[in-house]
């Protein structure tokens, strides 16, 4: 059966430590996010850890969620690309062809998870830091969209190694950079179509699974496992928002993507 790469992220295990974020940046030649990048909302994090509030002091909770590309089955980013630079592979990956991208940014506008990032400028590293760049991943130049690839260089590498041994890729041959780093093993990566894989077993056995923004009907390949709370906040308090005038003036709308 054809492969469908997928991932489960157990929110009950995620501690918000962000080891996955740095691991991804190291593996995938993501340019250093400078202060200006953050100010302009142009920071690139293929996987990021978001924090959501519930309630306000003293009855308050903060919750974490790591967000990589969802690798949607019916990806909204794909049909809007005028040059077919983002498309679906037969292994279920929502893939970005950098050398075909002309930078219209339609895909990023159409992505509900905001996991597509645009290179507004040529990425820059000091010469010495270039020694660290991963030779198996292309450095994206200016004007190109980029996104989480489920570490396709690792997938390809594992497939090649398996082919030389005249066998199929099996579960555990490799994993993505984020899953490898995760101290609590909240992230599990593998083939959803292989019933013996850890990720498929997790999806099949859990009663906590859900997809992010599932209502949109895109069928993401990233399945979250619900956070468990043994001491929830009282209902009335949970969804109280504090006065939004508190958070400072919103200075200009800045390009997103």
């Amino acid at each position: 059966m054809a492969k469908r790469w997928g991932m489960t992220i157990d929110l009950d295990l995620c501690t918000g430590c962000q080891a996955c974020v740095v691991s991804c940046q190291a593996e995938n030649n993501i340019p250093i996010n400078t202060e200006e990048n953050f100010q302009q909302r142009r920071a690139i994090e293929w996987i990021r850890v978001e924090r959501y509030w519930e309630g306000e002091f003293p009855t308050v909770k903060a919750r974490y969620i790591p967000v990589p590309c969802m690798m949607c089955e019916n990806a909204p980013c794909e049909p809007v690309c005028p040059v077919y630079a983002t498309y679906h592979t037969d292994q279920g990956l929502n893939f970005q062809v950098y050398n075909r991208c002309i930078g219209t940014r339609y895909c990023s506008v159409n992505c509900h998870w905001h996991v597509r990032f645009f290179n507004f400028w040529e990425p820059k590293w000091p010469d010495t830091l270039k020694q660290q760049l991963n030779p198996l991943v292309a450095v994206r130049s200016r004007g190109v969209m980029e996104k989480c690839s489920f570490c396709i260089q690792r997938i390809d590498h594992a497939e090649q190694a398996a082919e030389l041994q005249k066998r199929d890729v099996k579960d555990g041959d490799f994993t993505t950079a984020c899953a490898q780093a995760c101290p609590t093993r909240a992230i599990v990566f593998g083939d959803l179509n292989d019933t013996t894989s850890e990720v498929a077993k997790t999806v099949a056995s859990t009663d906590r699974g859900y997809q992010l923004l599932a209502d949109l009907g895109t069928n993401p390949a990233v399945v979250y496992l619900k956070k468990i709370d043994s001491d929830p906040l009282p209902d009335g308090i949970k969804h109280r928002y504090f006065d939004s005038s508190q958070v400072g003036s919103v200075q200009g709308t800045v390009a997103v993507g």
Partner: protein
Amino acid sequence: MWKGAMRRRDFLKLVAASGAGAVVFTGCDVSSWGNGDPKREFQIQSAVDNPQDFALGRDLWYATAFSGISGGSGLIVRVYEGRAKKVDGNPDYPLNLGRSTALEQSLVQELYHPDRIGGPLRLKGARGSGSYEAISWDEAQTEYNSMITAGKGSALLITSPLSGSTAAVADQFVKAVGGQHVTYEPEERIVLREAVRRVFGSPRLPTFDLANTNFLLNFGAEFLNDWISPVHLSIGYGAFRQGRAGTRGRYWHVSPQLSATAANADKWVPITPGSEGLVALSMAQVMTSQGLVDKSAAGTIYSGITLDDYAPDKVASKAGITADQITDMAKTFAGQKPSLAIAGTSASAHTNGLFNLTAVYSLNYLVGSVGTKGGVMFNPDSPLPDVLPNSTTGTSYRDWQPIVNKLKSGGTKLALIYNANPVYGLPPAIGLQAALGAGAKVVSFSNFMDETTTQADLILPTNVVLEDWGLHVPDPGPGFQTVALQQPVVKPFVDSKPFVDLLISGATAAGATLPWKTNEDVVRATVAQLQKAGGGNITGTDDPKEYFVTVQGQGGWWDTKKTASAAPTAPATPTKATEAQFDGNGSFYLLPYPTNSLGYGEYANLPWLQALPEPISTNVWASWVELNPTTGKKLNVVTGDIVKLTTSTTTVEAAVYINPAAATNIALVPLGQGHVIFSRYAEKRGNNPVTFIAPKMEAETGALAMAATRVSIAKAHKKVRIPRLEGAVPAYQLEDFPIIEVENTK
């Protein structure tokens, strides 16, 4: 390459590596790489040597280790044609089992940092001017030797906590040169080590069997972020939550701050800063008076204290919580065994830090969680205490004073500094910077220009983690005897030398005869001794060479059978209850906290860590002050407004971040920023809370009490934009459409 493919057998192939591994590109001029330069783009190189372990055109993973600023980890490093590309956890090493932290991932950036010092430097202008001239290693060595000879008998060696082979050589060095060895580490650790010594009688930090704990009560310890052993404890936390069928551990967090770690708790109990110990005593009172635990045990532990003076209703107002909350905590703690109480970070940063910690850790005796499944587990001594010593306790703020005075008076003739930045980390009131300039010769072994290094007469850059040898005894260990082996995975990128080599040559210049010449000799000799001592994970070989190669391949030596001897009996501590003292009369408690990414600022020079959002605020590249929304309204400030923070020491400005989880009477400030000089990525960025807190001390240990300052806050009528991952509007869970779905089990 990883979990499956990259197991023992592959490592064996890779170990020989190290020294030989990183040949290549000797002729290459680094500065013109990339940038589409056709001269280089269209070239392909024949390296000169091709050692067996060096493959062209493919990657290799070498096992090594990082002794770190906390616990440390076994690492595997992906090396591609002589360049380190990626750091990950070593799946074989028992402490981190293949997992790693953001800091460990970032170690490649330390290696290839653009502002690394390229070779030995000699002071050219006035001290502190930062004007240095490059000299050759021969010149540097001559100068270094003459400084050692001149400073003999009155030297001062300042290092980060050293363990294992490096510590053994440092001991020899100090013996030969004559003088003092002081260790610089975050002050909260000093309190923690003392508390552990008093409560458990253990000279080494304990480990916690989270995987079998049912109820975890944590008083402020940032155990998932940058406390003593974050990866090891995170793995335990994973098992604690989802590792057992049918049981999910429950975790309550008691502290003044909803920190990055606290956000993972099922319940956060916000208390007044410094009242942790009182709450613990109160819990003990509830448990004993209600017959939930064995009363006689409590009698031994709290012999000097009348527990009934600390009944919940008497403590509640001081702790800022209700009596019911304390009773609830006590009942749950006693009822959901095995339960575990830990404390650290903010709980130890008060004038009564030691009392807080001893009171909390003593709770474990009441519920029988000492040395048992699901409780506090102890680490055995080093397998070879003489040649592989355990790490030593840091020097407390109080003990720094005589050291500084001796420097000032000229009693110390030579100061040597390795991997520590006390000028940044100690309050300016102690006057260390001026003391270093008072006349002693100063040698820095640092790779980067930082606040301490700029005071040096001579800078001898040393190899960074990925370029050096070493044997480390992790503290805390995994509960059995463990030694991590660090080996160079690449050749030195700049003209640097191993620190231990310089210690050996220094000791030789002072007239000592040491049995080794280089750091590698030390490591090889010590591994040979380990082999002789027997035991361990390496079996089936008697050949010393093969034994060493196997240790290299596995990334260390450990013996799961050699655990600590019997658990200690309940001690008589704490003997008396103390309340936290605060300096100044501002209306807010000032609570500096180590952030997830930058910690106490040791690695603030790495851009990946600077750009890593602080988990709660998601702020990056900056420092700020967190205030409660109501407080913000009262002061008429919003996120981005600058406020003046006035302590009894000084006034500084900081940008406000409105944090809905901040307590109304607390101002939270992150540590780690505010470097005057520390590479292009860290310098002149934010402020360093150590410079504006009042330098109060923990009463018994003399450690700096970071959180013992009160502060008043006034609006400064200026505005900035704090760089942040999150948008301008804080992200709240939507009632009908939650991003993070939650299953309530109550």
